[in-house]
């Protein structure tokens, strides 16, 4: 390390004078496990209902489609409803490029500040909190989740998990960025009043794909 | 008294507390009366202070001196009962921590702590008086709750912080007031928020303390209560003192004073810092 290598040693030395461990010390034994969270209403019984109600509570919306082929129509309908029907270009996850998008163009690229709509593909969803889990990759640029005004997130129902704990076994490796997103961006920094669309998307819409097949 | 209640008997050392001794003897008389009504013999050993002011000021040496004195004064009794959450908590919770390096005293303090109770805690949790259906105060309004003093008053309650958070005293005084006096508390929104007394805090930081007691009073006013009750004289003197200074007619009493009362006419005055009517 170019930086702070002396500091590194002196900080660690001071810590070791307390922990009593030396540099080759073995991994400590952990003695806890995370309890299963218990709620008034058991959220594990019906994951879709739990997920939806959590999402709605934070101003996120949700619709369901039977399969991936139904996505473009669902996106079109949603954009019309949201007053965004004149949007020409959609920023998308690479896995969605091959769908029949009609007149709209789709691109897999880094988002810029003028981009209006993204259609991203979630790695998983978490019912306990109404959260979608995004993994960054060459197919899935992080900026797509944050810069456009409208973020539509595609989530396979088969990937709807009960808790964050169920996610870890599914992740083969940590992506550069693992983003947990729960609703549109918001702030309450002025007088505790919630305003949506602080820096990230103002509109946050999840499309749940019932039968995602092998896609 | 039912069999469960009868199982508890013995000598009680009344832990008067400095503030009741000096400013409000009727609180200690009321406590003594309530305990005697349950068949206990109540003794008031010569006492000064349990050491809480020194403890909260950070002076552990002085606190230990007073704690040892207190233990010696009180350890002969079967029970020690105080009409104060913060004073009983001092003995019950904090004495133990003081004697980390004096195991003999730590043991003695622990034995005393096990027998020390805040008044409402003792009456309800230890004696289980309300479960027995026995009146706390047989001589007041024997014809049922409708005759009890103050049954028509609007009464609110301030939960003192030490009693509430260190001893878990919240339902006991309310339950006793309901069972024995027919009093339903009209709750204020901020009953569990500190009134700004805090022992020496109120004189070290008088402006902040005044803001806090004003916030407390806002909550009291919202309830339109005629009477404020509580279980710790420090808080009650602080709130009553501010109420009176700002011209409020709300009267302030320790809950024990109401519990022990036979008729409204027996009141010695119209509350803490109130205008005397005798």
């Amino acid at each position: 390390m170019a930086h702070g290598s002396n500091s590194r040693q002196s900080i660690l030395n001071r810590i070791r004078s307390f922990t009593g461990r030396d540099e080759s010390g073995e991994a400590p034994q952990k003695s806890w496990s995370v309890p299963q969270p218990g709620y008034v209403v058991d959220f594990t019984k019906d994951l879709v209902t739990s997920f939806t109600s959590r999402l709605n509570a934070v101003h996120g919306t949700l619709q369901t489609v039977a399969d991936f082929a139904g996505l473009p129509v669902a996106v079109h309908d949603y954009l019309s409803e949201a007053g965004q029907s004149n949007v020409q270009e959609l920023l998308v996850h690479k896995g969605l490029v091959g769908l029949e998008w009609g007149n709209r163009s789709v691109s897999v690229r880094k988002a810029a500040k003028q981009d209006r709509v993204s259609v991203t593909l979630a790695f998983a969803g978490i019912a306990e909190t109404g959260t979608v889990v995004m993994t960054s990759s060459s197919d899935s640029p992080t900026t797509q989740s944050y810069l456009p005004d409208t973020n539509i997130v595609v989530l396979r129902e088969s990937r709807l998990l009960a808790t964050m704990e169920s996610l870890w076994p599914l992740l083969e490796h940590q992506p550069r960025a693992l983003n947990f997103i729960t609703g549109p961006s918001k702030t309450a920094d002025i007088e505790q009043t919630i305003v949506y669309g602080a820096h990230g998307p103002r509109r946050f819409h999840v499309i749940l794909v019932k039968n995602a097949g092998a896609n | 008294m039912n069999s469960e209640a009868k199982a508890v008997s013995g000598n009680i050392g009344l832990f008067v507390t400095c503030l009741a001794d000096l400013f409000r003897p009727s609180v200690a008389f009321s406590a003594a009366k309530l305990l005697e009504n349950q068949g206990f013999s109540v003794t008031v050993p010569i006492q000064s202070c349990c050491g809480q002011p020194a403890y909260n000021s950070g002076d552990e040496r002085k606190t230990r001196g007073l704690a040892k004195q207190f233990i010696e004064q009180f350890e002969e009794f079967d029970y020690v009962v105080a009409p104060s959450g913060s004073c009983s908590s001092m003995v019950k919770i904090h004495y133990f921590d003081l004697f980390g390096s004096e195991p003999d005293w730590q043991k003695r303090s622990q034995q005393l702590a096990n027998r020390t109770f805040e008044l409402s805690e003792f009456l309800l949790d230890v004696l289980k008086v309300s479960l027995s259906g026995v009146d706390l105060n047989p001589s007041n309004g024997s014809e049922g709750l409708s005759d009890k003093p103050f049954v028509d008053s609007k009464i609110t309650y301030h939960d003192s912080c030490s009693g509430l958070r260190e001893l878990g005293i919240r339902s006991q005084p309310r339950e006793l007031l309901k069972q024995s006096c027919g009093v339903e508390i009209k709750e204020m929104s901020n009953s569990e928020i500190c009134c700004g007394f805090g022992g020496t805090f109120c004189v070290k930081f008088p402006e902040i303390s005044t803001r806090m007691v004003d916030n407390k009073i806002d909550g009291i006013v919202e309830t339109k209560a005629d009477i404020l009750l509580g279980g710790d004289l420090g808080c009650l003197m602080n709130i009553a003192g501010r109420l009176k200074r700002t011209g409020s007619k709300t009267r302030v009493y320790h809950y024990a004073e109401l519990l022990a009362l036979e008729t409204e006419g027996d009141l010695v005055d119209d509350g803490i810092a109130g205008e005397k009517n005798v």
Partner: protein, 482 residues
């Protein structure tokens, strides 16, 4: 950040006179407290999670060297850099160095209390960098030239009107119109900050948790500014501190359930992100460089001390929101980065107890903070411990010391105490006579007790002390029994 803790009393008095501040603090208190209660009640085993939070932090602190090194190895394995800084000055040198190498001009920032602690903004600005805070609250106070008054809601003390005026002053010259409503204010900040996000060279964020097992830095926000700060500029620097490390993802899940609930009364924050190093080979976006600056600044010396429990703090702010002193005076009066109960414990250790003696004393020991702390830090006990250390160091005030000693001498002599209390009672009764005739229940002024009587009446004592009255009554009843 400049230390003004010695100025607590006058600053608090001034704050109490500020009506806008009082209104703002009143709003914040009820907002935070009520929302927190709802979501902590809904999670039935919230208490179990608090216990978990305490235990995991204790375990991590007991093995802090192991977990820090594990974290470091894993960050490096992912292509990131880890820098260790003994103090704020060194942390700033490290940040400056990275910015210089990156040939940076504009630096955007997500909220980082550690960078406030180090005074990073000022250090960067002194070297000519343009530094822009992007959390809306931080942006507002940056414009105002102030410091955060709350650890998660930095502009909680500002009214909407004050923000309108600030925006008018700074944005009007850029051609923006006056905004008076919440939505319009937020939208204007959004537009301006977007330009900065997309043109900045370096992004600096804090780190809420450092996951050792994976080398991940976790940040939690609602606005999304932390993510934009991290994924748009070519360099991402995390300024954080050594006690933020936790063992693994399992622990993270536990802490995330505690943090949002305790902080903002949310079930989860809108954005929780784990950063795992710089942009990878085929990635389309993300920073080219990823740096973590680990600040110590006195924390390693707290390990093993009587104050170690404060190192569990996850900076949720619940103790502030539930502190009746904090909500009366706001955060600035505390005079340094961390206000409220956790600050009154931490600040005297980090800046020197002799400079901050008022902080642990400015507390009624009402205990509410301790009951809401998500990692069960015994805040009232630690505040009392500070008082005890102040007494041991002889730094309590002479008047206080004198009075306490006098009272102690008396209280240790119960018989004399009784006599003097009765005499004191007589004196007090005389002062009660100064009140209106016939209304002698209280004392309006009392020499030497103006701190009480300036705003409150003092109840007048009765005829004698309880102990004397009781003795008389007992002998009378013994007499009559004879």
């Amino acid at each position: 950040m400049e230390v003004l803790t010695h100025n607590f009393k006058p600053a608090a008095k001034k704050a109490l006179l500020d009506k806008d501040l009082s209104a703002a603090m009143g709003r914040a208190e009820s907002g935070f407290v009520d929302t927190r209660r709802k979501v902590t009640d809904e999670l039935l085993n919230f208490e179990e999670f608090r216990t978990l939070g305490r235990d995991v932090k204790n375990h991590t602190l007991a093995n802090l060297d192991y977990y820090l090194e594990l974290f470091e190895r894993n960050v490096i394995a992912q292509g990131g850099h880890v820098h260790w800084a003994k103090n704020g000055e060194e942390a700033n040198r490290i940040v400056l160095d990275i910015c210089k190498k990156a040939d940076a001009r504009k630096i955007i920032k997500g909220k980082s209390m550690v960078s406030e602690e180090a005074g990073t903004n000022a250090a960067l600005e002194r070297q000519g960098y343009e530094v822009i805070e992007t959390d809306l609250g931080e942006y507002i106070i940056q414009l105002a030239g102030e410091t955060p008054s709350h650890i998660i809601a930095p502009a909680v003390h500002k009214s909407k009107k004050a923000v309108t005026e600030l925006f008018d002053r700074y944005h009007a010259p850029m051609g923006y119109e006056t905004v008076t409503e919440h939505e319009a204010i937020v939208d204007q900040a959004r537009q301006i900050l977007r330009d900065h996000f997309c043109s900045a060279d370096v992004g600096i964020t804090g780190g809420n948790f450092l996951v050792a097992e994976t080398g991940s830095v976790a940040i939690v926000t609602n606005e999304g500014n932390g993510d934009l700060t991290s994924c748009l500029p070519k360099v991402h620097i995390v300024t954080t501190s050594i006690e933020k490390v936790i063992p693994d993802m399992e622990a993270l899940g536990g802490f995330l359930r505690l943090l949002a609930r305790s902080a903002t009364g949310q079930i989860t924050s809108v954005y929780t992100t784990l950063f795992n190093g710089p942009k990878r080979d085929k990635d389309i976006d993300g920073p080219e460089e990823f740096h973590v600056v680990l600040l110590d600044n006195g924390r390693s010396e707290i390990l093993g001390s009587e104050y170690q429990d404060i190192l569990r703090c996850i900076r949720c702010g619940a103790c502030l929101n539930h502190c009746p002193v904090y909500t009366s005076i706001g955060g600035h009066a505390y005079g340094w980065v961390y206000p409220g109960p956790m600050g009154s414990v931490l600040t005297p250790i980090l800046v020197g107890r002799e400079n901050a003696g008022d902080l642990p004393n400015a507390c009624t020991l009402n205990g509410r903070c301790g009951t809401v702390c998500p990692v069960k830090i015994p805040l009232p006990s630690l505040l009392r411990k500070h008082r005890s250390d102040l007494v041991k160091a002889g730094s309590q005030g002479a008047v206080q010391k004198g009075m306490l000693s006098f009272w102690y001498v008396l209280a240790r002599r119960p018989v004399l105490y009784g006599v003097l209390m009765r005499a004191f009672k007589t004196v007090l009764s005389l002062f009660a006579l100064l009140d209106k005739a016939g209304q002698r229940g209280r004392i309006k002024t009392l020499p030497g007790a103006s701190a009480w009587t300036s705003s409150r009446d003092l109840p007048a004592p009765g005829k004698s002390t309880f102990q004397a009255l009781w003795k008389t009554a007992q002998s009378a009843s013994n007499e009559s029994e004879k």
